[in-house]
């Protein structure tokens, strides 16, 4: 019950400062005095697979709040499955969510990331009367049986292809590269996706999975001479990850074009093209509003994300002596620690 209570938040748009909240309270109080004939405000229930404070989740929330601000009362439920990764926890949170949905009777559900669909939507709300908009599902909705008649949404695809295009644009003739990531399942799937893209263009991409910081550092240095470029995967899974060491190693050892699709790995890569959590939230919000506005949700196709952030690391550019095209330098965000 404690977790249930702790994971439900009601807000309109972004979190406001105290005085704004007070002002909002006053407005809410006044609104109670409005005659009962006032128009009914729609309720949107956001069900997060993760928890508040998790960067990816917060990004989705920001996009959602931006899209729904003033148009739909936003209620939130966190399944907290990142910090509690057991199936039991997720199932339990799914039940709590269901109970909350039944109590709240929202006009639409917005389910973020895979676990919400896996433990809540698919079991309880597939083809139900309540419309569901999902977002943040990795690569494919096939595991959850989407699309439903009452569900559509946006899947989360790493910007592998855009990254490849930039590598091609920078290096011109490319034959061989490497993929360095933590030795975890998701990174293996990530490698497969990357390999598909690169191999379709005749480029060999060698996988390197590591488990420790030392291995990562060692491999990072070794791979500088093993190919034309290095794709840096997710570090999640490296237990002794050290940002300082990773920074030091990247600064000292970068000789070739290093790239990544992960936002938090931009400190160690020369060029980063990363997906936007906010895009997921905004899309889900827009779809929710469209459905609430009368659009037939079954006719809205499931789409993939398409907005990226581009980062360049000037220090690593200097270390490597690599020149990036002016078009990239103009668009990119410069990062440095």
């Amino acid at each position: 019950m404690i977790g249930y209570a702790a994971n439900i938040v009601t807000t309109y748009g972004r979190q406001r400062p105290l005085f704004r909240r007070l002002a909002a309270s006053v407005v809410a109080l006044v609104s109670l005095l409005i005659p009962l004939s006032a128009p009914h405000a729609a309720t949107c229930l956001y069900i997060s697979s993760y928890h508040s404070g998790y960067e990816w989740n917060d990004g989705i929330e920001q996009g959602l709040e931006k899209s729904l601000a003033g148009k739909c009362r936003l209620e939130k439920f966190y399944m907290d499955s990142k910090r509690h990764q057991s199936d039991d926890h997720s199932k339990m949170m799914a039940l709590q969510a269901k109970a909350y949905i039944e109590k709240l009777s929202p006009d639409i559900l917005i389910a973020a990331d895979d676990n919400a669909s896996r433990y809540l939507i698919q079991p309880f709300y597939k083809n139900s009367s309540i419309p569901v908009v999902f977002c943040g599902i990795n690569y494919s909705v096939a595991p959850y049986g989407y699309p439903y008649d009452n569900a559509t949404g946006m899947i989360e695809i790493s910007p592998v292809r855009p990254l490849y295009k930039q590598i091609k644009a920078i290096l011109g003739s490319v034959k061989r590269g490497a993929f360095l990531a933590a030795d975890v399942t998701t990174q293996h799937r990530e490698y497969d996706l990357n390999k598909e893209v690169y191999s379709s263009h005749g480029i060999e991409l060698a996988p390197v999975f590591v488990k420790t910081m030392a291995e990562w550092s060692k491999q990072f240095k070794r791979l500088q001479s093993q190919g034309d470029f290095l794709v840096i995967g997710n570090n999640a899974g490296i237990s002794d990850w050290s940002e300082e060491q990773a920074t030091a190693v990247s600064r000292a050892e970068t000789r070739i074009l290093t790239v990544t699709n992960y936002d938090w790995m931009r400190w160690y890569a020369l060029l980063s093209i990363t997906k936007l959590a906010e895009e997921q939230g905004e899309w889900a919000g827009d779809v929710a509003l469209a459905v609430l506005g009368g659009a037939d949700i079954s006719k809205i196709p499931v789409v993939a994300n398409r907005h990226w952030n581009i980062y360049v690391n000037p220090e690593l550019l200097e270390t490597s002596g690599i020149k990036l095209p002016q078009t990239i330098m103009l668009k990119a965000i410069r990062v440095s620690r």
Binding site: P147, A295, V302, V303, A304, R306
Partner: protein, 852 residues
Amino acid sequence: MFFSTPRPVLLAGVLGLLITAVMSGLSYNRLINDERHTFDNQVQNIREDLSIQSRKAIEALDNISSLFKASESVDIDEFHILASEQVERYPFIRTIYYAPYVLHSERSDVENAMHELGFIGFTIHAADDSTAGSFPIKYIEPFSPLYILRLGYDLLLTPSFTNAVNRAVDTAAITSAKSDITSKQSITLFKALYAGRLSLQERAIYPAMKNGMLALDIDPQILLQEVDRIPQLSVTLLYRNQPLTDKNATTSTAPELVHFDKQVTIGKEGMQLSLYCDKSVSWHQADLTLLLLSSGMGITITILLIVIARTFHSRSRLLLQRNEEVQALVDEKTKELQKLSSAVEYAGEAITLMDASGIIEYINPAFTRIMGYQPEHIVGQNAIMLGLSEQGSENFDEIWQTVVAGESWTGRQMSRHQDGTLIPTRLSMAPIHNSNSQLVHVVAIHQDLSEQEVIEERLRQSQKMEAVGTLVGGIAHDFNNMLAAIQGNVYLADINMDHPATVREKLGKIETLTSRASTMVQQLLSFARKDRVKLSSLSLNSMLKESFKLSETVVPENIDLIYDICEEELIVKADVTQLQQIIMNLLSNACDALKQADKPNITCRLSADDMEPSFMQAHPELKSSRVAHLSVADNGSGIAKSDLDKIFEPFFTTKDVGEGTGLGLSMVFGAIQRIQGAITVESTRHKGTTFHLYLPRIEQAAVISANDEQSDVIVQGMGETVLLVDDAHDVRDAISEVLSGIGYRVLTASDGKDALHQFSMHEQDIKAVISDVVMPHMGGKELFRLLRQRNPRLPFLMITGYDSLKAAGISADGDDCVLINKPFSVSSLSRQLHDMIHHTQPTDSSHSTGNQ
């Protein structure tokens, strides 16, 4: 009411209304023209703006097209990035989408590829019987839930798109069509994409090679919002004459002034749009301010004109009234001026108007007549310098200074005629001041006294004759007494021839009686003399003594005549004759007043007085306070108080007809005034009358005595030869005997011719000539002239029994001769003759002599 309105006001009102109408009309035209001009400009601006927006839409298509040309395959993210930029940049772009050309057999491949990209559920919606292929929408921007509903939709399924899509493929040009995919009106532009550069012929042969179509939806409402236009302007976009946008509804029910409309075509190949604009100008629009303002101004002008006209009319009427008043005043003044001018023009007195510096500005005709000057000769001349008075400019300058000082001056002047003769005038000069008391003019009036003086002279003469008549009556008695005495003494001398002492005594008495008779006759002649008034210094004491002697013959013996003459010699400047006449007149009046008196007496008193200032103020005519006071008092009947103020008026008399002329006292008054004296009278009825004469005294050593005391000494001759000429042989013989008796050799002649003859014979011997004045054949005067031609230094003594100068016809100024009157004493004759011969001058200042 209408007809009572003044015509200027009526005209002003009509004019104002006309101005109002014209201004309103002009303003209305201006308003309409401005509105039309504004409308045209706005339409043109909208057209240009829309044309620009149209080009921008085509540019957007070109931009995206270049992406596809630059890459063999365009990923969805690349399309979205570029397309979203275009959408953000151009708000009127509603949607941009890419539809690849998909053969019927390739549909599933495309769908699977889209599924792999994450577009789960992507399905191509194309006609099932389509074998040629379709253009399903693959990418779309904005990437929103509403728009992505159109993913997979075949463009050729839209009927209105078919022709445009085919035309875009066939012509390689950007085509357009009215969109009916959504409920919103829009224009869709199409641009075909090709895998390579194909000619038109190749495109026709290989239609399958076309690899896609770019399409762009334009929101006409937003497109119109992009252009700058005023709300009043209704703008409708048409596509193929079908409205894309609704006309702005006109809510105003106000009547319209005018309506404009215009349709223009925008764009060429890409977007064939028509723009239809219309605008109604109604009374409620703000631009009508000009019309209202001009109408208001017109009305204001009308009111102002009416007010001005009314004011003008009132002022005009007032001015007319004033003008009439002024004209009446001017006429009145003009008449007065004409009267005055006529008075001046026809005045008998010479009138001169001078400016403050003495420059003559005007003279009247009388001036010309009296003074002889024509206006053109004297106007503009300085009066001071002209010397119009006998005394010259210096005297006139004194008068001028008096006038300039602000005082008037009146006095007798001898004015000089243009021909140089002197005219007696009474000159009155007065200053003329302006309102600031500044001297601006001086007016001078010359009154010609010539005729007046002639009349006065005649009157004076008649008075004299009257007095002479009276005198002769008195003298005749004395003269007879003296003749009787002389006869008696001649008889006694004759019978006592033997007693020389007795004879000498009787002859002495005879000589005394003769001398008295001579004096009496001389006085009578002098009194009757018609000389001009000639002022000279004289001793009043001596003159009175002589006059009183003469008056003894006038005053009846029963009247006690008392003289009281002071010892101090009182010198006055006066005419002797006039003074004698004054005394005679006063004595005569006194005698007349004493006819009924008991113990009648007349007291004549002469004294020296210093008059009090009060007296001087009362008698400004009196020149000096130091006076000789002569009073003549009687104890007669006196003068009635009512007559006292009139006694000095001419022709006023209380005497019976034939007894008096009424001119006596008038002449006395005039004579006293002439010598700047004063006369007063005091009288009490039945007690008597006293006349007081105040004559200014002067200090002068040499004066004329009334009767110089002559020495009785006989100056003996030295045997000089004297030619005696007289037509009366008794006189000639007596004088010849006397001259011979006192030592002269005497030659005689009976007239002038005889005298010339004698002179021719004895020219060397004759030392002097004694001649009567009036003689037959040749008078003394002619003789004098002819003898002087022979001997300019020849002494010549005239003797005459007439009034000396007049009778001789000799001017005292020109002739160097001596004249004595008959009878004369032997001593006088001997002295004159002696003096002449021995070149000694006579003692008298004049050249005449005798018993004066």
